[in-house]
């Protein structure tokens, strides 16, 4: 029936009022702490940068396999098993046992309690898959082993990325894991991410290794380039100290040479190691290596015992500051690549907001005028429902703290255009019903009832499209699906509660007049 109980009217009124309050709270600052939620502007509207980083886990996988290989060799030795021809290729460890020990080798590899499988205790599954063809064995990381390795490196990387971004003093950065090897970094207000990009692009693996003049070093040697890519040096593979032992690093001005340097402080273990190594090797050159490149290789003039030192290397103040920052925040577990980057300047954002709001107002006015032209007084009711619909929509977005993007604004405008559909369906149905039914109230009532399935089906289909977009879309497009989807819900509310309420009041008051619609 076209009838509303008092309680229903009051409830509808209160709900509407609450959302109207919420939507206006975005425009004016209300001096209360009742609700602090606000609609967030997306990066495309407020300006800012979006970076998607991918971790390259191959080095970690190789390292894990190397370590496993050493472990295997040791274990086979201890058990006096004859195993030979160890090799690693395609992320697989391969070896051969002699024919007599096949069973025993297999047993050791699969034994749940063997020290080779410390993994099993914790996760109840093997880290490696073991396969053998007669005496040829191959081992590779199990799916679960890979997942675990990825997720632990992702966790570490997120932490390091957060520290680095925080250190640059960026406002409210948003750092999120994506999938199993990606990190999303959103930097509102920062439209030139060059510095952050160069900071995040570095693994910052710092090591101190001696320059080895004779190539015969018990640990082996490697040839490394200097930072300027011009010179090279032969360096011992023995790592004296790495970045893990660093507790602080700062850029400083060396007043003697008038040169910018980075000074660092080591922890207790680091100080001891560094003290010992420098005392025993006075006169030798110590290479300071960052991500496989030598920054500088000063000669040790005297033992460094205090646990602090300095790095020089033709730094500008900026590059010294960045190096200090990288050293303070620690090394990434694996190198990262930036695979997607989007940045929007603040004035494009402002232009977009302006264009969005103008087209919203114009679109809204056109629809409103058209509805009044078509339906007169009922057009007015539909328009009133449309306005509350908009306010409800904005209110709900506020309540959820949703992010408004440019396509999101387009979604709101589209909602304005499509929202009147339900009222049009109802009004057209009522027109038909009034031709058959003289009782105005009955005609209006059946108009509402008979149009209901069409309205619900029609809106659910749009809702399905919005939901799929929400699940599959990213960034600004997701914002569109949010406003479109919420818009459908507020549309149904405004049509069935607000417009119907006013229609019922009007029809009851004028039930004896001629053609209402």
């Amino acid at each position: 029936m076209l009838y509303f109980s008092k309680i229903k009217i009051i409830t509808v009124f209160l709900i509407t009022l609450a959302f109207v309050y919420l939507s206006f709270s975005n425009l004016f600052k209300f001096d209360d702490n009742f609700l602090k939620n606000k609609i967030n502007l997306g990066l495309d509207l407020q300006g800012g940068s979006y970076l998607l980083l991918e971790i390259d886990n191959q080095p970690i996988i190789s390292q894990t396999l190397q370590n496993k290989l050493i472990e295997l060799k040791k274990s086979f030795n201890e058990n006096s098993l004859k195993v030979k021809n160890f090799s690693i290729s395609n992320n697989t460890i391969m070896f051969e046992s002699d024919n007599l020990s096949i069973d025993q080798v297999e047993k050791i590899l699969l034994d749940k309690e063997s020290e080779l499988n410390p993994y099993f205790e914790k996760f109840k599954t093997h880290q490696f898959v073991v396969e053998n063809n007669a005496n040829f064995f191959s081992m590779y990381l199990s799916d679960y082993g890979v997942v675990l390795l990825n997720s632990s490196s992702l966790d570490q990387a997120v932490e390091i990325v957060r520290r680095r971004v925080d250190e640059t003093g960026t406002n409210e950065p948003n750092i999120l894991k994506r999938g199993n090897n990606r990190i999303l970094v959103e930097l509102p207000g920062l439209d030139d991410p060059a510095r952050i990009k160069s900071l995040l692009g570095k693994t910052a693996n710092l090591t101190f290794q001696f320059v080895s003049n004779n190539e015969k070093d018990s640990f082996g040697t490697e040839i490394l380039k200097f930072d300027n890519d011009l010179e090279e040096a032969i360096v011992s593979k023995r790592i004296i100290l790495n970045g893990d032992n660093l507790i602080d690093a700062k850029p400083r001005m060396d007043t003697q040479n008038n040169e910018t340097i980075v000074s660092f402080t080591l922890d207790r273990v680091g100080s001891k190691k560094f003290g010992k190594a420098t005392s025993e090797n006075v006169g030798k050159q110590l290479a300071i290596i960052l991500d496989g490149k030598i920054i500088s290789a000063p000669s040790i003039r005297e033992p460094i015992l205090g646990g602090s030192g300095q790095i020089s290397g033709n730094f500008t103040f900026q590059s010294a500051t960045d190096l200090a920052l990288l050293l303070r925040s620690g090394a990434l577990p694996a190198p990262m690549n930036i695979i997607e980057e989007r940045s929007v300047g603040p004035d494009l954002g402002k232009d977009s907001i302006k264009a969005g709001i103008i087209s919203l107002i114009v679109g809204f006015c056109l629809v409103v005028i058209f509805m009044i032209y078509k339906y007169k007084i009922f057009g007015l009711i539909a328009n009133f429902a449309l306005i509350t619909n908009l306010l409800l929509l904005i209110g709900l977005l506020t309540l959820f703290g949703a992010t408004l993007t440019l396509p999101g604004i387009a979604g709101i405008i589209l909602t304005v255009g499509m929202a009147v559909d339900a009222n049009v369906l109802i009004f057209e149905r009522i027109k038909e019903e009034t031709r058959k039914e003289n009782n105005k109230i009955l005609a209006f009532d059946s108009g509402y009832v008979k149009s209901r399935t069409a309205i619900i089906d029609a809106n659910i289909t749009t809702l399905i499209a919005a939901a799929i977009l929400f699940l599959m879309g990213s960034g600004p497009v997701k914002g569109f699906s949010v406003t479109l989807g919420i818009g459908i819900i507020t549309t149904l509310f405004s049509v069935y509660f607000i417009a119907r309420l006013f229609t019922s009041i009007y029809v009851r008051a004028n039930k004896d007049k001629g053609n209402l619609l």
């Binding site: 030139d192 060059a194 692009g201 997607e340 679109g363 559909d421 029609a458 289909t461 399905i464 499209a465």
Partner: protein, 299 residues
């Protein structure tokens, strides 16, 4: 009210639709779509140059100096705004955009970099894949929903109409070489929703009428249903188009492709509800029994 005989033209418009679909498919196959950086990978830079002496060719010359593969430079809305696109395969160097900016700054000291988008090949192929999945998924979901709510014949008619709309819209984008980016995928999904919405309203009426009149055939009935819902169809299309035109003309360059796709979609969607979705029901000989049998089964 005067009744328009839509059903007299079912055949003619059926052929027209077939021809249009054929043209669109040929365009899509032979000409292809103009994918933006979202789906092709590469770099897009939007710039504004206020005061210095500039023109498309001068901007192109300046950027050409940096040796960028597949460089295109276009005006973007305003005289002062340009879109620069290129394919840079080597993304390893995080500094290269910065270096490029500094290089360009020498020629245009008052340049303003409004937008930079840089999508790697891996991400772009994933985005393309997820876009295609999203559209297929939405079509499947619609098919399923209509199948539950109506009969399979209705579901088939609706889905044919949707394919028609999506293919034609993409065909126009191919014909005009308009850029396909993420927001176009959003537009296509919305078109799917809108076209479905429109079809459902007519279908709902056909179902009502089928239940009411056991002796009228579907050919007449579909026409009657179209006419009964016609004023609603026109009104809703008009208000939606008003909103979309407002976005198209006033919403800025970024939303132009999106709103154009939607405008096309609304027009094509409205047409297909009448001339694809309905003739399908006629073809499939949907009758009073089709609808009523199911009701009885339920009881």
């Amino acid at each position: 009210m005067k009744t328009i005989e839509f059903n007299r033209y079912y055949k003619k418009f059926g052929y027209l639709s077939l021809i249009l679909i054929f043209i669109s498919l040929s365009l899509l196959i032979f000409k292809g779509l103009n994918y933006g950086v979202d789906f092709k990978g590469g770099t897009l830079i939007e710039i504004r140059i206020q005061n210095s002496d500039h023109s498309v060719s001068k901007v192109r010359d300046v950027f050409s100096d940096s040796n960028l593969p597949n460089l295109t430079v276009k005006n973007f809305g305003n005289d002062t705004d340009y879109i620069i696109k290129f394919q840079k395969q080597n993304l390893d160097n995080p500094e290269y955009i910065n270096d490029l900016k500094n290089e360009v700054l020498k020629s245009f000291p008052d340049i303003n970099f409004r937008r930079v988008e840089n999508v790697g090949p891996k991400v772009s192929s994933e985005l393309l894949k997820s876009g295609i999945i999203a559209i297929s998924l939405s079509l499947a979901a619609m098919l399923f929903y209509i199948w539950i709510r109506f009969e399979w014949q209705f579901s088939l008619g609706a889905i044919l109409a949707l394919f028609h709309d999506v293919i034609l819209t993409l065909g126009v984008f191919s014909l005009l070489s308009l850029e396909i980016n993420l927001s176009i995928v959003a537009a296509v999904l919305t078109i799917v929703g809108y076209s479905m919405n429109d079809t459902v309203v007519i279908y709902d009426r056909i179902r009502d009428n089928l239940k009411k009149y056991a002796d009228v055939n579907i050919f007449e009935l579909s026409n009657q249903s179209i006419n009964e819902t016609l004023s609603r169809t026109i009104l809703t299309s008009v208000t939606t188009l008003l909103a979309l035109l407002s976005i198209f003309f006033l919403g800025g360059e970024i939303l132009r492709g999106f709103s154009l796709a939607m405008i096309l979609g609304v027009i094509v969607g409205t047409y297909s509800s009448i001339y694809i979705a309905n003739p399908t029901l006629v073809r499939l000989n949907v009758s009073h029994d089709t609808v009523v049998k199911k009701e009885e089964e339920k009881n």
